[in-house]
Amino acid sequence: MNAQAGSTLDATGDGHAPATAIPTIRIAADPVGGGAASATERVPNEVVVELRGVSCFYGSFRAVKDVSVTAAKREVTALIGPSGCGKTTLLRTLNRMNDLVPSFRATGEILLDGQDLYGKAVDPVAVRRRVGMVFQKPNPFPKSIYDNIAFGPKINGYRGNMDELVEQSLRKAALWDEVKDKLKASGMALSGG
């Protein structure tokens, strides 16, 4: 654990408890090729996402207050906190999903590989191409199972064999055997679990 949470801890002042110090848990991915290096002697992985003094607002409501945290390559970083403390808001800020909320505003610096995600020249669509997101609730499109999986690659101009990619993706998700005979069935018929 090498969480660097924000420094300010006072939740008073605006009547609610914004996320100031969101605890993060890191689970290091096993180094590829067999564990020669143990977690204790491992050199820290390169930082990919870095937040510096980030606050998020919905109108005048401050949902996230002055959070500074980093996430490293090839590690799983988890955000933990009570309901309503701003975990989702913070995550949605990382791929500009909150741009869709008209009253949303973020201050501070949000860096991906050193580049400010909220810079003037940054295209939110390009950001979301690189920062993926899996939602709290399953979110299939009103299309067939096949088209649901093909949608992402298709809109991003995938030129390879789509059938192969769909099969490969379903195999990786351990769903292939269940759905291989009903790829034309509705994606919304799948159970969420």
């Binding site: 791929n95 999903m97 869709l100 008209p102 669509v125 390009a126 979301r128 191409r129 993926g132 997101m133 939602f135 609730k137 979110n139 299939p140 499109f141 009103p142 299309k143 067939s144 949608f151 992402g152 298709k154 809109i155 991003n156 509705s186 994606g187 919304m188 018929a189």
Partner: protein
């Protein structure tokens, strides 16, 4: 929310009044039943009247025949073909413009005063009497654009009549799509158009198509604006969209119903049956299209 301010010693009391609450429910149930009964009775009376008067006149010759001065020999073929052509042209105009306008207002337009003003105005247009559209169509399509009193002028005018209905129904269908559908597409790196095309439109399609087809059924039944446009009442040749006189079923009914002879009342009723069948087919189509477009949708 106020907290209970029970003074010490006294228990807060409930008055369940279960009987009265159940009675209220029964009264409301009865009122709803009455409403549907009135509706069904009125519909049955209407249909029964039309069928009793019109059915004896309805034969193959009536469907495929040309109009005639003699009620026994008259037919609705030009009017039937006119109505079908009209419906097709109205659909072809309404489909792209209606959906385009609705998608703009629901997905692209910023949520500001101008957008709301626009939307309110479209809602108001839906309430404008159709004869006003007829006067507008006469001025613009027939005179200004010089198309003359042809089928296309009538179809364009009727398209204007139903466009507000189509746009409002489509906006409602688009707004009913959960925000999560938009976010899901965006999260995969979709542009706004890809999001609309791939996620929102398929989800809203059943509602949009239902709105369009129901609006087309309304267009098929309209007579007033076409009278103003100059639809002929006695046409013995099949209409061509851009030249020559045309007539449609409601105009034919209007014409026959005016005649003093009793036989023509029967002929008019028979033509009404033809309109009803046409609208029934259209509604059936709406049902099939809706079922087909909804096959992947299970919220």
């Amino acid at each position: 929310m106020t907290t209970a301010t029970a003074t010490p010693g006294t228990q807060p009391r409930f008055e369940p009044a279960l009987m009265r609450r159940k009675m209220n429910g029964t009264i409301f149930y009865g009122a709803c039943l009455l409403a549907i009964a009135i509706l069904i009775l009125a519909l049955i009376a209407l249909l029964l009247n039309v069928v009793v008067v019109g059915l004896p006149w309805l034969d193959p010759q009536f469907i495929t025949g040309m109009p005639s001065r003699r009620p026994t020999q008259t037919g609705v073929f030009p009017a039937l073909i006119g109505s079908i052509q009209l419906a097709l042209i109205v659909g072809a105009i309404t489909f792209p413009i209606g959906i385009g306008a609705a998608v703009y207002l629901a997905e692209y337009a910023p949520d500001n005063r101008i957008t709301r003003l626009l939307q309110t105005n479209i809602s108001n247009l839906a309430g404008v009497p159709s004869i006003i559209y007829g006067i507008f169509g006469l001025a613009v399509f027939v005179r200004l654009l010089g198309l003359g009193p042809v089928l296309f002028s009538g179809a364009a005018t009727l398209a204007l009549v139903i466009l507000p209905l189509v746009i409002i129904a489509s906006i409602e269908a688009l707004k009913a799509v959960p925000q999560a559908q938009r976010e899901g597409a965006y999260a995969l790196g979709a542009s706004q158009w890809q999001m609309v095309r791939g996620s929102v439109l398929p989800a809203a399609a059943p509602g949009i198509m239902t709105g369009i087809i129901l609006a087309m059924a309304r267009a098929i039944g309209e007579a007033a604006p076409l009278v103003v446009i100059g639809a002929a009442t006695f046409v013995t040749s099949l209409p061509q969209p851009l030249q020559g006189g045309f007539t449609v079923l409601p105009i034919q009914v209007f014409n026959w119903a005016q005649r003093p002879q009793a036989d023509f009342q029967g002929v008019a009723a028979a033509a009404i049956i033809v309109i009803l069948v046409l609208i029934f087919i259209l509604n059936l189509l709406a049902l099939i299209v809706r079922a087909r477009l909804s096959r992947h949708i299970q919220w």
